[in-house]
Symmetry: none
Subunit: 413 residues, 2 copies
């Protein structure tokens, strides 16, 4: 079998709708994108529904599919976030998303986010990480962005069927919730009681923590409590790279994308210069993509900015973010080795007028050796709707790439 | 989330094939349809297979899908027909379709339809409705169009696994069938014996009914028997409006469509002027559609005539029926509020040359705010086959609309 390689450039949330501020064009139509359009004229295009027409997906689900998983293999946001911040997550681990929070002496939640604490959360987390719970259950705890953190319980006889301690409602003078088992199993009861003890022990540790004493001295609320939510279990997902017997790298600034890449068995490359915004270093991303494709079979390179501008209803800035994407793709194409396909994709649409992910399909493109060029000359939602790839699900698009690479098993004989 | 509304105009059975009487054009191509074509040029189009390519569907199944159900949720024709004529159908009810018929003193069926009786069937039905059966099983009975009626048995310990008393064959000198249980359950045996007793009691009641005595005096056959067929059980289907948390209305003349609308939780509006034929009052339909969309999230407005002309192999008249549809759609578009999508669809194809429903896909169209306009300029089977929506299943098309409305739940986070 002839084996080839793929670089997939992902413009997060790039799909949109015609907008009055852009002469009733979509940001992709409006933006100046000579590189994307040249690839369209040389490649084949189509439209992709990540799951099925009309169904919106989150960034985690969208990337899970782009990396080759089925939608029903979604392991929950907790495990993906844990992987994304570099935690070692193992099958069977119970993973919870957490907030640093402030409670008073009666357990009343004064602030669900401890005034959106950003400083020294690593020091506070350090006091909790490694805490001992009974039966040899290990506590792994790591801060994420701002007031967020991830808690992992590792041990035998645990369950993710437990309720949240986070009351979620705005600070309304009510206490945090006791954690309850969500089914009748001994494991759920055991895990709930372990977690309630964890909350108590963490509260005692944090109440006297030097960072918090300093915060109080400075007139700030102490981060003296850990609110937990969304317990999930790390699924026994086989890394895609093992499934296909390939190797891969992912270049991204966003922890969710990096988390999915870890799950899939991809090497992850990130850098503070990958800001996720309009000032992200696209030259660095393009350089790393080319560097990695010499070593690996698949390279994913991700740009977050279009999605952010969609969420903020900024169509002109979204067009600018797309011009960044165009530039990055152009840099990659200039150095693309002969045996490598260049694919363009997105994880979902984030139309500016909606400000949320929607189920509108996204344009996709494949360019590379011996490609069946179609009649489409521009990369956008309207032209690619008539493209030669037709309308594909996310799984079908990714399998098309794996097929072109020569790694899909023949059915029958 | 941004919420919008949808008016869906359904041209029953509109899909067709090129016909020699129409210069080898399809009725949709041949008809003068300035409104449909203007919408095509401003909107996005595609082709829809209600279930899957090649599979014909009935009007009930087609509309069940257009209202948002999955094909495997089909509850049977009986419950839909019962709902369509305004009966209160409850989960667990056993519903049978019936004919008023004529039998002689030996039970020989003289006429399966009692000479297609149309007059005073409500009086005859009144004698049967409310009949008492043992074990507190209630009898609900209501006439439908012409010689048709619906019987509902309501009570405990009933089953729909029973055979038909209707021999269905043309009047061939044979007696009506005894009703038999179709499985070995006690419920089926009990229901079969209840139904056989119902047939006897109804026969006695009807034989001496004044309407029948008058018919005999006038030289007509008496409607002295109830033939039953197609026992079905009302499924525990959740109304679509509850599932999505929306409201809706349906404007139609046909009881099957109204029945599906009831099932889906839609308000139904009908009028004797909605004849189902070429003389139907399209101005009334358009006016009601606009009136209802101010109150509701979704409005379906249905036109039966194209299907009838297809069944009758009348291509020229089918083109006329399509021009009526065009006129109705034009009236709706003139008053369409800004936040409303206008969708065009059909429940199936009824090609004139076949005279039956076929599995040929039907053209669909979506026009409205910020739509991704495609390159198609005419609404018909041949142009829309190249449309920007691609080829969709019925479920995908409807979910696309629910997605544009902002009511589809995000998968992942």
């Amino acid at each position: 079998m002839l084996h080839r390689k793929v670089i997939m450039a992902i413009a997060d949330g790039v799909g949109d709708r015609p907008h009055p501020l852009l002469d009733n064009k979509t940001p992709l139509e409006y933006a100046r994108t000579p590189n994307l359009d040249r690839l369209a004229s040389k490649g084949m295009t189509g439209m992709m529904n990540l799951i099925s027409p009309g169904i919106p997906v989150g960034t985690d689900m969208g990337h899970l599919i782009l990396f080759g998983y089925q939608p029903d293999q979604y392991p929950g946001r907790g495990p993906i976030e844990a992987l994304g911040i570099g935690m070692d997550v193992q099958p069977g681990d119970i993973v919870l998303r957490c907030n640093f929070a402030t409670v008073d002496e009666n357990g009343i939640v004064l602030d669900r986010r401890a005034q959106r604490i950003r400083e020294k959360t690593d020091e506070i987390a350090g006091a909790i990480h490694g805490m001992e719970l009974e039966d040899g259950v290990e506590v792994h705890f790591k801060p994420a962005t701002e007031h967020r953190a991830v808690l992992i319980l590792r041990g035998n006889g645990l369950s993710d069927k437990v309720s949240d301690s986070d009351p979620k409602a705005p600070n309304d003078g009510k206490p945090y919730h006791q954690i309850e088992p969500l089914d009748g199993s001994a494991e759920a009861g055991h895990t709930a009681s372990l977690l309630n003890r964890f909350l108590q022990k963490a509260h005692i540790l944090l109440s006297s923590h030097p960072v918090n004493e300093q915060r109080i001295a400075n007139g700030k609320l102490p981060a003296n409590f850990i609110l937990t939510r969304g317990a999930g279990q790390m699924a026994h997902l086989k890394p895609i790279v093992e499934d296909l017997n390939i190797t891969g790298s992912c270049i991204a600034g966003e922890s969710t994308v990096l988390g999915v890449a870890q799950l899939a068995g991809f090497k992850t490359l990130t850098d503070p210069a990958m800001t996720g915004n309009l000032d992200t270093d696209i030259a660095l991303k393009a350089r790393l993509a080319i560097q990695e494709i010499y070593e690996k079979d698949m390279v994913y390179v991700h740009l977050k900015a279009p999605d952010l501008m969609g969420h903020d209803n900024k169509p002109v800035e979204k067009a600018k973010a797309i011009e960044l994407f165009d530039e990055m793709v152009g840099l990659i194409e200039q150095q693309l080795p002969d045996n490598v396909y260049l694919a363009l994709a997105a994880d979902h649409s984030t139309p500016c007028e909606v400000g949320e992910h929607t189920g509108d399909p996204v344009p996709v493109l494949i360019y590379g050796p011996s490609i069946r060029r179609d009649r489409i000359l521009q990369y956008n939602e309207l032209d690619c709707a008539h493209g030669g790839l037709g309308h594909l699900t996310g799984n079908e698009f990714v399998r098309t790439l794996h097929g072109l690479m020569g790694y899909v098993k023949k059915q029958g004989n």
